[in-house]
């Protein structure tokens, strides 16, 4: 193995072990920030030793032993400092807590610890961006550079964000907690939001075309799977996982060889990942079993499941899709959801009914610059044979579309409408 090979292996091993190391050390030290620093120190030690001694047979155990040794040093130092402090101030003796047995702690089930780690990284005291960066770093083991690339931010910005987030956690004194019961469900919402944010960053690719962005989908999926395992009673965690698995199952079919987008109805369904769909449907069923049928993520997952279950676009249960959108709209008032409901109604009951809803949405300020309003409107008008109006609607959409590929697609549709117009004349 060359030195570069060894270094790559070390980084790979470290990435696999990192969440375990952090959770084990956090329990020992009651300090996530310190645990993360020690984990990094173990990595540095491995980078120093392994190229010389070779990669040990149990690299994970080696890393843990190294980090543990440093943790014990740290505990001793802190204890000594405390004693000196005590002596000087002659305050009443408050013997430091007996040192925990690290081995017993580390052999324990990591599930609960992992949950604490997730809740710590996604603490509501932090901004959404800071939460996302911390979660990617501590749970998925991404480097600062990788996170910066994923969010298209300068590395210095991300590094600063992480440092500031860790300081906020230390200062708030709330660094290490996993809420229970009702509080857990409440706090879980902010965790799910962060995971979904990360997934969408990778999935919608609104900006740029970095290779790491699809990887963000995988990282979000990974966190989603962890969440359903460590908080198995939370319906919405299963709902979010279902939503992400089902959406990700279509990744291969979403673009053609040239990178152009392929509409859902035109996608080659043979390219949808059946294994992933199966996992998504299982997660959805679990969310329903737990009584999550009306949750934000579960409802969305149920909609995507309607598409996943349909062998051809014609098989889609459009009345059910429309009904689910109506339920979703009752939960979150959003003109975008209303627009989606209109699309489903257009498929279930015909374009005329849908157009009434879309025209009502025309004055929504939130949709003023939303290109999909024009796109949907154009599509409905086209189906109704009102080609001149369809052409105009697509033209509006073209002007508003931010993504180059989308713009090209809409231009094609505008041309189609114009051609249909001339044929009729």
């Amino acid at each position: 193995m060359t030195a570069a090979d060894v270094n790559r292996t070390i980084l790979a091993v470290w990435r696999i072990e990192q969440p375990c190391l952090i959770t084990g050390l956090s329990r020992m030290l009651r300090d996530v920030t310190l645990a993360e620093d020690l984990t990094q120190e173990a990595l540095v030690a491995a980078l120093e030793h392994w190229p010389v001694t070779g990669v040990p047979d149990k690299p994970g155990a080696w890393l843990m032993a190294t980090a543990k040794r440093r943790a014990l040093d740290d505990l001793r130092r802190r204890r000594m400092l405390a004693r000196k402090h005590e002596m000087l101030t002659r305050e009443q003796e408050q013997e430091q807590q007996a040192m925990p047995d690290p081995d017993a702690a580390l052999d324990d089930d990591i599930g609960d610890e992992l949950l604490r780690l997730i809740f710590t990284a996604c603490h509501p005291k932090l901004s959404r961006e800071a939460r996302a960066a911390l979660a990617l770093r501590m749970i998925c083991g991404l480097t600062t550079e990788e996170i910066a690339r994923a969010f298209l931010q300068p590395e210095a910005t991300i590094a600063q964000r992480i440092v500031r987030a860790k300081r906020t956690l230390s200062e708030s004194g709330l660094t290490y907690e996993a809420p229970r019961g009702a509080e857990l469900s409440e706090r879980l919402a902010s965790v799910l939001e962060v995971v979904y944010l990360i997934f969408n960053e990778g999935y919608t690719a609104a900006r740029g075309d970095e290779w790491l962005r699809p990887q963000l989908c995988n990282d979000a999926l990974r966190m989603g799977r962890v969440l359903t395992l460590v908080a198995p009673q939370e319906a919405e965690a299963h709902g979010l996982l279902a939503l992400m698995e089902l959406n990700a199952s279509r990744l291969a079919a979403r673009t053609d060889a040239a990178g152009d987008p392929i509409l859902l109805m035109d996608q080659n369904r043979a390219r949808w990942d059946r294994l992933q769909i199966r996992r998504g449907l299982l997660a959805l069923a679990r969310a329903h079993d737990l009584g999550g049928g009306q949750g934000f993520y579960t409802l969305q997952a149920a909609i995507v499941a309607c598409h996943a279950r349909a062998k051809t676009p014609a098989d889609t249960d459009w009345p059910r899709v429309a009904k689910l959108y109506a339920e979703l709209a009752a939960l979150v008032r959003s003109p975008v959801i209303e627009l989606n409901r209109a699309v489903a109604i257009g498929m279930a009951e015909g374009p005329a009914t849908a157009l009434v809803i879309v025209d009502q949405l025309a004055h929504e300020p939130a949709l003023k610059n939303y290109h999909l309003l024009g796109s949907v409107r154009g599509d409905l008008l086209y189906k109704l044979g009102r080609f001149a109006e369809a052409h105009a609607a697509f033209e509006v959409a073209v002007k508003l579309a931010g993504n180059k590929r989308e713009r090209e697609l809409l231009m094609r549709r505008a041309d189609e409408a114009r051609d249909a117009m001339t044929i009729i004349r």
Binding site: T9, A206, P214, L221, G259, L263, V304, N340
Partner: protein, 132 residues
């Protein structure tokens, strides 16, 4: 990156030892909790329950045994989500290390294969956002 590990061994008469089962169970537990392990399963020997559908000389044929050369094969598979090939190899090494420790004398292979999944796609799915 989706990875499939395929484990095979010429020693069909030896099932895993209890110590190995326990060690593998621990590893699987950790990997599932880390969100990396997606699916796993054991495979029965092909001679016991299995067949091959082959094309030779332009003809389709079903061979349902006995498999003189391959009847000893027994194994399993696991599907993982790894960041890159290095991470996949580190996982495979750790898995085989368990066999080395908990099942002395065992011989076998862990094949590490990259599954065909979409690589990088940068474009937007207009349909998915408008319809789903």
């Amino acid at each position: 990156m989706r990875i499939m590990y395929i484990v095979t061994s010429p020693q069909s008469d030896r099932g895993p030892t209890p110590a190995l089962m326990e060690a593998m169970g621990k590893l699987a537990d950790r990997e599932i909790k880390a969100g990396r392990m997606l699916d796993t399963g054991g495979l029965m020997p092909i001679a016991m329950a299995g067949a091959q559908v082959r094309i030779t000389d332009g003809k389709l044929g079903v061979i349902d045994g006995p498999f003189v050369e391959t009847k000893e094969l027994i194994g399993g598979y696991a599907i993982f989500e790894h960041r890159d090939m290095e991470e996949a190899m580190a996982g495979a090494r750790e898995f085989m290390q368990l066999h080395l420790e908990h099942m002395p004398g065992w011989e076998g292979t862990c094949e590490v294969r990259v599954m065909a999944t979409p690589g990088v796609d940068g474009a937007c799915d207009v349909g998915a956002r408008a319809h789903a």
